[in-house]
């Protein structure tokens, strides 16, 4: 395992920027996420030499080139597999995966499923712009039905996948969500993800100004955000609205949520569900909420840690006798069934 080096000077967000010119389209949501990640790293005091960003292919996946940490821009959809190898080889590294909705849920959907259920200690950030940006705007597996794109001139006819619902279904033990331009929330969520041991999955709604501009406006634009966003916090009631005057409660007689007014003229505050981030069933309900009937749930939807994959791998290796010291190869070869031919 690697030795931690003490960095003498505290690093500022700009110290996590590489010398490469950023090449996203002007106005792309990726810029905001890059800034938020650099800020997160600075606030975490992340040692650059022990931090690795692994990405697949797509606009989002260009990310590692713009950071001054170690970075590996791999191939389309496969970043989780490579990140797993990095972590198995050196569990002491802090490994982040950056992926897109096409990268992570179409070509790489299988790897995403398995990296989550295995619970490899990685922070996985999925930039969801509901479109294939890099290949010039085809619909993606998260595109809503009816998305017009070069490959779906009459509108797409496929049902979209919800990244957080997928992650929860795959057995992820940390699932969170944020909006690209809401920097404090992104930073807060990424710091939580970083603190979580095991696979943490963060979906960031990211605006593609060129091919899918404004797809999230109905819950991200300033005038509707308070109405349409529910910021969940563990142990706090699920309230939203400009004056937190509305809330969620369990609909009587079913396993479904409903929006109810709270306080004067509404239900008593005690009726409102309190967020329990260790409750997977609640997380699934929250992940499925959609405007206009419901707000979009943001923040840490689910966090329920368990032993991480690489930790268990090394626990088994140690139990089998691995110490880091070279074991006797000669003895292994001579372990059984040998005979000697005398000179």
């Amino acid at each position: 395992m690697t030795v931690t080096t003490i960095t003498d000077a505290e690093l500022a967000p700009k110290d996590y920027a590489s010398d490469q010119e950023v090449r996203w389209c002007p106005g792309c949501g990726d810029y905001a996420i890059l800034k938020a990640v650099q800020k997160t790293l600075a606030e975490l005091g992340a040692p650059r030499e022990r931090t690795v960003f692994v990405s697949g292919i797509g606009c989002a996946a260009r990310f590692p080139y713009y950071l001054s940490t170690y970075g590996f821009h791999t191939i389309h959809g496969r970043a989780p597999a490579i990140a797993t190898g990095v972590k198995l080889a050196n569990p002491g590294l802090d490994v982040w995966v950056v992926t897109g909705d096409g990268d992570g849920l179409s070509i790489g959907g299988n790897h995403m499923l398995h990296v989550l259920r295995r619970n490899v200690d990685l922070q996985i950030i999925l930039f969801n712009n509901e479109i294939y940006g890099l290949t010039k705007g085809q619909y993606s597996p998260t595109s809503r039905r009816g998305t017009h794109s070069p490959s779906t001139p009459q509108g797409s006819i496929e049902a979209p996948v919800s990244p957080c619902a997928f992650a929860l279904g795959a057995g992820a033990r940390f699932v969170a969500r944020a909006v690209d331009t809401q920097q404090p929330d992104v930073v807060a969520v990424l710091k939580r993800a970083h603190g979580h041991r095991g696979a943490s999955f963060v979906e960031i709604f990211q605006n593609c100004v060129v091919f899918n501009d404004g797809v999230f406006d109905h819950f991200t634009s300033k005038d509707v955000a308070a109405e349409a966003q529910l910021h969940v916090e563990h142990g706090k009631p699920l309230l939203f609205g400009p004056n937190r005057e509305r809330g969620l409660r369990l609909k009587a007689g079913t396993v479904a949520l409903e929006v109810v007014p709270v306080g004067e003229g509404g239900v008593p505050p005690g009726d409102i569900l309190v967020h329990d981030e260790t409750n997977r069933a609640l997380a699934q309900l929250l992940a499925a909420l959609e405007p206009p009937a419901f707000p979009v749930a943001l923040g840490v939807l689910y966090c329920n840690p368990a032993a991480s994959y690489e930790a268990e791998v090394y626990a088994q290796a140690r139990a089998a006798g691995f110490s880091g010291e070279p074991a006797d190869l000669g003895a292994l070869l001579r372990r059984e069934g040998t005979w000697t031919v005398a000179p």
């Binding site: 080139y65 970075g71 198995l88 050196n90 002491g92 791998v313 880091g324 070869l333």
Partner: protein
């Protein structure tokens, strides 16, 4: 144990081929393995090959449920499991039906008459009982009721009739051990260890072995029940064991990891026949620094190997043809990022799913050329089970010295075949310690060693060397993304030159048998080694001007190969594919190489190669102009 019977009856044999065949449940693999150990201990050279059914649990008594184990052993170098069987042990009618066709005329077949019931005969598809209808007339048939004899031998131990029945293989083993004058001690000890917690089973099995042995020793000698002696083969002094290709690969990878001075190997695989065996073997070597990872597919497996290499461990992945095909895009990434991984391909018959349990050498093109764009990598092949050890070490050496993926070609035959191995001293194994880059001065990810052209191996965790790599083309001088046309040409040439330069660090091609010039060079690669070697040896005994050249390095070829081949009139290339190496040789050296192809899912017989050599010796010189040999004439 010079008893009266051995003195009376034993005849000498140079070498013998035995095949143990029975139902999947009859324990033929165990029987064969125990016979192998006793034979090795008796000092014979040997080669073994198991042939198990593709079905996991085929219905008992059916022909597709037959499991067989073949061994050739002898007093001289034994290099193949043997063309024709001398002794067939057939534990039931289905085994007789499947395997008798490989028995040489005049060979011996031992059958358990107790298993030749009406029901078993029907299941095996016999209309009449072959023991009675004269169809076995060309052979010497030993008919014993092994079922009854075993039941009697194990009676004192109170086994269930099912358990008693399962001791039949040990009775047959005992008889075969007697027939070849082998000891039983190692087997008896092994049985006691194996059934340590069921002493009655241990005793019963030992009693069955002893009963079979005593039967040979004391029975009224039928004219066919003869004992033989097979003198021991001359062997260099040292400590020996038998080793299968899979074991040798696993241990070779470990030795390679040690040689490179690496602490850990991350071995990632996805189950596939016949490559899974290596995953299973390595999964038991965690104490030695092996981390095995069963990935979700072959792509993820090579991905994890690449991630591990990026992080400074030995990254290894293994599969068979279809899985190697899935790894293709990742190989391109490893080539572009110049990361050292080892990819082992246990080739099997194809295309597509093909015949998963049958060996073929048809992935050579895939290994050498099977990627998009100009994407060179190193390809080497193992010739024998023992050779797998050195080849694995060599793969690690090339990968880490040149920062490149290396494909090792093995096959379904080598994965299972076993032979005696003189164990190397751990201290004498090759060392080629890697040097991780630590110095930030002048560093960028594509700074190269001027001699090898290998880029620096700079692993995450190293302060001051933070850098970004990926599949996008990189600038030669800075390592940054580059779309510059001249730079791409330069990087393409550099990647090619680096792989070509591996030839400077490998031994020149040797001739494994015969002169370095002459009428015919038989050029092979991979597991055909034994058959070609024996065939060339036989042809030479008949006065043929023939040499055997066997290639370990398939990309790049050894530097002297073209010049060496040019010194032969004919180049004959036997391969278990439709002709792949033959094309590579023609392309590389413009030589009139002729292929000899076998794609039957079975290894070459020595006789098949001998015939091809004889035909080649009789044919005109291909380089002399002849209107009838247009193809060859272009050399």
């Amino acid at each position: 144990m010079a008893t009266a019977s051995t003195l009376r009856a034993r005849q000498a044999r140079e070498s013998v081929v035995i095949r143990f065949a029975g139902d999947s449940g009859d324990g033929m693999q165990v029987t064969g393995s125990r016979f192998t150990v006793e034979t090795a201990l008796a000092g014979n050279d040997l080669t073994t090959f198991p042939d198990f059914p593709a079905e996991i649990r085929a219905p008992a008594g059916t022909t597709f449920g037959v499991s067989a184990f073949q061994i050739q052993f002898g007093a001289r170098d034994v290099m193949t499991p043997g063309d024709a069987v001398d002794v067939l042990v057939a534990m039931n009618p289905a085994a007789l039906k499947v395997d008798v066709k490989d028995l040489r005329r005049g060979g011996t077949v031992l059958v358990d008459t107790g298993a030749f019931t009406e029901r078993n005969l029907t299941k095996a598809g016999f209309a009449a009982n072959p023991l009675e209808d004269g169809s076995l007339a060309p052979y010497q048939v030993l008919k014993f009721d092994i079922t009854r004899l075993t039941t009697e031998a194990v009676k004192p131990f109170g086994l269930s009739s099912r358990e008693a029945h399962r001791c039949r293989n040990m009775w047959a083993l005992g008889l075969m051990l007697w027939m070849y004058g082998r000891d039983r001690q190692a087997t008896i000890e092994w049985l006691r260890r194996k059934f340590a917690d069921r002493p009655e089973l241990a005793q019963a099995n030992v009693a069955a072995v002893n009963a079979g042995h005593a039967f040979g020793e004391t029975a009224e000698m039928s004219e066919h029940l003869v004992g033989y002696t097979v003198p021991s083969a001359p062997a260099e002094p040292g400590r020996y064991r038998t080793v299968s290709g899979t074991e040798a690969l696993a241990w070779g990878l470990l030795a390679g990891m040690r040689g490179a001075g690496l602490e850990k190997m991350i071995f990632a695989g996805y189950p596939i026949t016949p490559a899974s065996l290596l995953l299973h073997t390595l999964a038991n070597l965690k104490a030695y620094g092996v981390v095995t990872f069963q990935a979700e597919d072959e792509i993820a497996a090579i991905g994890a190997a690449i991630g591990a290499a990026y992080s400074g461990s030995l990254g290894v992945t293994s599969s068979s043809g279809p899985g190697i095909a899935l790894k293709t895009e990742m190989l391109g990434l490893a080539i572009a990022t110049e990361l050292p991984i080892v990819v082992i391909d246990s080739q099997r018959a194809g295309p597509s799913t093909g015949m998963p349990t049958k060996a073929e050498q048809s992935d050579l093109f895939q290994a050498v050329h099977g990627r998009n764009a100009d994407a060179p990598l190193a390809v080497i092949a193992a010739a024998t089970a023992v050779d797998c050890f050195e080849v694995a070490i060599e793969a690690v050496r090339i990968a880490t010295t040149y920062m490149t993926p290396v494909i090792v070609l093995s096959d379904a035959y080598l994965a299972h075949a076993a032979e005696p191995w003189r164990l190397p001293e751990a201290a004498a194994l090759p060392r080629f310690p890697v040097r991780f880059r630590t110095d930030p001065t002048g560093f960028h990810p594509f700074v190269r060693d001027p001699a090898t052209l290998a880029r620096a191996w700079a692993v995450p965790g190293t302060p001051g060397l933070e850098h970004r790599i990926g599949g996008l083309e990189k600038d030669y001088d800075t390592g940054h993304i580059s779309y510059d046309p001249d730079n791409h040409a330069r990087m393409t040439q550099t990647r090619a030159a680096k792989i070509a330069g591996i030839a400077n660090g490998i031994p020149p091609q040797q001739v494994s048998l015969g002169d370095d010039h002459g009428a015919v060079a038989v050029v092979g690669w991979g597991s055909t080694y034994g058959a070609i070697h024996r065939a060339v040896s036989e042809a030479r005994d008949e006065g043929g001007d023939v040499s055997h050249i066997h290639l370990r390095y398939l990309n790049p070829f050894p530097r002297n190969l073209g010049e060496l081949l040019a010194r032969f009139e004919h180049i004959l290339v036997p391969e278990m594919n439709a002709g792949q190496l033959v094309q590579l040789l023609r392309a590389a050296y413009l030589v009139p190489a002729q292929g000899l192809s076998k794609v039957a899912g079975k290894p070459f017989k020595v006789s098949e190669i001998v015939q091809a050599i004889e035909a080649t010796l009789r044919s005109p010189h291909p380089r002399s102009p002849s209107p009838h040999r247009g193809e060859g004439a272009r050399g």
